[in-house]
Amino acid sequence: MSLSLRRIWGLMFRHIALYRRSWPRLVELAYWPILQMSIWGFTANFLMQRGGSNAAMIGGAVMGGVLLWEVALRSQMGMSISFLEEIWSRNLGHVFVSPLRPWELVAALIGMSMLRMLAGVIPAIALAWVLYAFNLLSTGPVLVLFFANLMVMGWAVALGVISLILRHGAGAEALAWSVLFGITPFSAVFYPVSVLPHVAREIAFLVPASHVFEGMRAVMLDGHIAWDELALAMVLNLVWLAAAILIFRRQFQVARIRGALISIGE
């Protein structure tokens, strides 16, 4: 294993060891996705019972939306909260004086984000199948692209949150839980972009998730893959990620100038 990979694994190992010993943390990973799945699953069932085949399809799309939105949400939270764990344990001083490069820190956080997301979303997908006979995997291989795009968007937002924490200290940590909810109305998770008012549609166009969910509905409701939407999602994600990396690099350097890496837990 290269030294760089060892350092990335070292930081991931610290978090895995923490989760291995903490059942409340493990429960928390799956609690919200399962709760969301349960509530929306019943809602979709109700729609199916009352509205016929069209409503059944829409109910299915809503459940797909719920599950896929959790991918973005868990990816963003997984990365932000893993960084916050370092602040809460007042361990950042040791981490940043080790040879761990900032990009390796980000890579380790991304690794943890993927593990946390899978630990949360896989049980919810299984539950949807068992309880509501909704099989997200029947979407086909394109599901991998949906997952990938939503994860990348989550990471870009998480890097923005981490940058804010580096700039404003632990006072900005509430954003780790709330920031993505603010984007939800423009992400077209449960409804098509076309139902939004004009200004909101302009904003939604710039949100990668809105194109992923348009693509998901195209598969589920119309049976075709909207490659144009997926391509737009990928391009927007590249822009979001590049911007987030630039902001993170800048804020990391500013934190080193202001001494925030020493007092960040305060």
């Binding site: 070292g10 344990s89 004086v97 761990l100 001494g259």
Partner: protein, 247 residues
Amino acid sequence: MDAITVSHLSKRYDETLAVDDVSFSVARGSTLGLLGGNGAGKTTTIAMLLGLLVPSSGSIRVLGHDMARHRFAALARMNFSSPYVSLPSRISVRENLQVYAHLYGVRHTAQRIAELARELDLTGLLDRLAGELSAGQKTRVALAKSLINRPDVLLLDEPTASLDPDTGDLVRSWLERYRAESGCTILLASHNMAEVERLCSDVVMLKKGRIVDHGTPQDLLDRYGREDLEDVFLDIARGRTSLEAHT
């Protein structure tokens, strides 16, 4: 060749000059004591040496590496211990040491951890949660972490704070032996003057961010006409010069 060279180092936070034109060097294999009261600039200087803080001006070279441009090459051969920076408390001592062994690219991790545990009397603590340890045990674990990569440069901030006299003495003896065997360079910030006299070959006295005196412990004792460094420290802290202290 010096292991650490600090030239005209300054750090300004808005209107506050935390470190003001500080220059010193530490010869390889020696131990420098960085002394001063609260707010003297010790922590700020150490943070700049570790690359946690960017200096406003001046330069730092550690093991020949310019810390402004090649800090990671130096950091791989350095380490740091402070009772004021915690290790994750919800994982075991062994897991903590494994994490840092990975971060520093240590080979034969299990063997190195067993070796450090034996030498620092941690064997019985390895599988306990770090957060369950007493303050003294935590300090010993932090020291083990700081030695995990057999550093060539070791920065210690109050390494024996919270230790009982017996354990404190054990740690000091161990540091002396480690330095003698490894040729490690140590920079020590401490308020324990007996410790400084015992471990340090040179002392830098800081006050309000500036170096106010510098020399071997014996030089300082002679210059201030004192029996121990505690009195020299008080002379400096209370603004008495070496000439006044003599009269």
